[in-house]
């Protein structure tokens, strides 16, 4: 893809197993995202998705393969993409406001300026009135929203989301997905989501990559041809079901059902 924002090509990663032989965790994984796209990688638990994110995030170095951001090589260089995990990783000794400005603070920017900027966004993230609270006083959904605000304030064009709403209950989760889509649009970020929930994947994405487990490979891609302006009702339409069916089929047997449309 010539106009790719983030491009991952032919990634291989292996590590020393507990009893000797090397274990291949990732085998020949390639995919790419254009600016402002939302892409999901769906696969069974423990399929090496988090390893993949650690490589893209520059925390792990692959055996072979490249990761480029706007054409520049970022292999082994942390700090180029923002990262949000299932655990909110809010620091319990910092107030919400001081938690969300962590990235600019670590980058050496003025704390008071960062605070001001964050304050202006608190309402959009449903956190106004809680800026001086400690994370322990927040609900699970609020904590994840604070974590996302912190991720947005990293000021990176690409955001990796590692099952960010995995620990939330179904209702909160549905509301968060819809809200996340709005945030992505509003802040114009390119996002990659790791999930094992087909509903989330289809609902949020432009494209869903289905991964196999041990080693992780891309088993197939489903292009989501639904309007980008999505409401939660969309999940009840036949078009949504067709896409979901295609994803599920790929997950189950790594094969495409013949009737599924919109595939590449």
């Amino acid at each position: 893809m010539a106009d790719a924002r983030l491009e991952v090509s032919n990634l291989h990663f292996s590590y020393d197993g507990d009893d000797g032989p090397r274990v291949t965790a990732i085998e020949d994984v390639s995919f790419s995202l254009r600016r402002s796209e939302f892409v999901s990688i769906i696969g069974p638990s423990g399929c090496g998705k988090s390893t993949l994110f650690n490589i893209i995030g520059g925390l792990l170095t692959p055996d072979t393969g490249t990761v480029t951001l706007d054409g520049a090589d970022i292999v082994g260089r942390p700090g180029n993409v923002a990262y949000m995990m299932q655990r909110d990783l809010l620091l319990p000794w910092r107030s919400v406001l001081d938690n969300v400005i962590l990235a600019p603070e670590l980058a050496g920017q003025s704390r008071s300026q960062a605070r001001e900027k964050a304050r202006a966004l608190l309402r959009r993230f449903g956190l106004d009135g809680f800026e001086e609270s400690y994370p322990a006083a927040l609900s699970g959904g609020m904590r994840q929203r604070a974590a996302l605000l912190r991720t947005i304030l990293c000021e990176r064009s690409v955001i990796l989301l590692d099952e960010p709403f995995g620990a939330l209950d179904a209702l909160t989760r549905a509301a968060m997905s819809e809200w996340l889509l709005g945030i992505q649009h509003e802040f114009d970020r390119t996002m990659i989501l790791i999930t094992h929930d087909p509903d989330d994947a289809v609902y949020l994405s432009n494209r869903v990559y289905v991964a196999t487990a041990r080693p992780m490979r891309i088993g197939g891609v489903v292009d989501i041809q639904l309007p980008r302006d999505r409401h939660r009702d969309l999940t009840l339409t036949p078009a949504f079901a067709t896409h979901k069916k295609a994803v599920l089929a790929l997950l189950e047997n790594g094969d495409l059902p013949p009737e599924a449309g919109g595939l590449s």
């Binding site: 319990p92 000794w93 670590l106 699970g140």
Partner: protein
């Protein structure tokens, strides 16, 4: 409102319970000593101990100043050494492998054995006593600090690394604050050990201090004053412990709400810990 009243009542009960228990113990002690006519040099009654405390006020408090100086200086030394050792242990593998066995060995030496040697080396002054106090207090403190600094979850470290944090930022903004609960646990234990250490050091080689006074009085069967000095020492130890506990509360306001830091770091699904009021 009713809930708040009940909470206030239960708090009053929390304070009252140990006081009632202590009073009961002292009362039975007093009654038994009088009934059984236990000689004063074997076991003085609480009333006699209190009388002795007021009678020997000047002597006891004169000696207390000496001991208090040793406790505080030894404690301070233990804290400084404990922090330096902990950081070296956490950040240097070769230091950990080489020096940790020596530190453990230092703890197996009986204080009673090493104290006279230290007196030979440093003379009949404050130095050996401060060293012994520090020697007794620094080890559990060091263990606590090391545990605290290493307790950090890998996810937090990876998260900081993904933000390009420098090693110094990682320490100051993550490792150190995350270790505070353990550090304060160690600091509190060390207060009581410093009191014990200072007293023992005086027992073995000193010409002043509460430990010295107690050693003298024991020999002269002045048991009431031994107990009086002990009570003063205990009160000092408790006060010291309380002050460090107060500093802890001020330093970690975030940990004195709904849940402990330990629980936070062994993190559960977020939904479980949400207080009802916040939902």
């Amino acid at each position: 409102m009713a809930g708040r009243d009940r909470r206030r009542f239960s708090k009053a009960k929390d304070i009252a319970a140990p006081l009632v228990l202590m009073f009961a113990i002292l009362l039975s002690w007093e009654i038994l000593v009088r009934l059984l006519e236990v000689p004063k040099f074997v076991l003085p009654a609480p009333s006699e101990i209190v009388a002795e405390m007021f009678g020997s006020w000047a002597i006891i408090f004169g000696q207390l100043r000496v001991t208090l100086f040793e406790i505080l200086t030894g404690y301070f030394l233990a804290v400084v050494v404990g922090f330096l050792l902990s950081i070296l242990i956490v950040y240097s593998n070769s230091f950990r492998r080489g020096v940790l066995p020596l530190i453990v060995a230092s703890q197996t030496i009986p204080v009673i054995a090493i104290a006279p040697v230290l007196v030979i080396w440093f003379g009949y002054n404050y130095v050996p006593r401060i060293l012994i106090t520090a020697l007794v207090a620094f080890f559990p403190l060091t263990v606590s600090i090391v545990t605290g600094l290493q307790s950090l979850d890998k996810d937090f470290i990876n998260f900081f690394r993904s933000l390009n944090a420098s090693p110094l930022q990682l320490f100051l903004k993550l490792r150190f604050p995350a270790a505070l609960p353990n550090i304060f646990a160690g600091l509190k234990v060390a207060t009581t050990l410093a009191v014990v250490g200072a007293t023992i050091s005086e027992w073995v080689g000193a010409s002043a201090g509460l430990g010295y006074l107690m050693a003298q009085d024991t020999q002269q069967l002045n048991t009431a004053r031994v107990f009086a000095a002990l009570v003063v020492l205990v009160l000092c130890g408790m006060g010291f412990f309380g002050i460090v506990g107060l500093v802890e509360r001020l330093a970690m306001p975030w940990a004195h709400g709904r849940m402990s830091a330990v629980r936070y770091f062994s993190q559960r699904p977020a939904a479980e810990i949400v207080p009802k009021a916040a939902r």
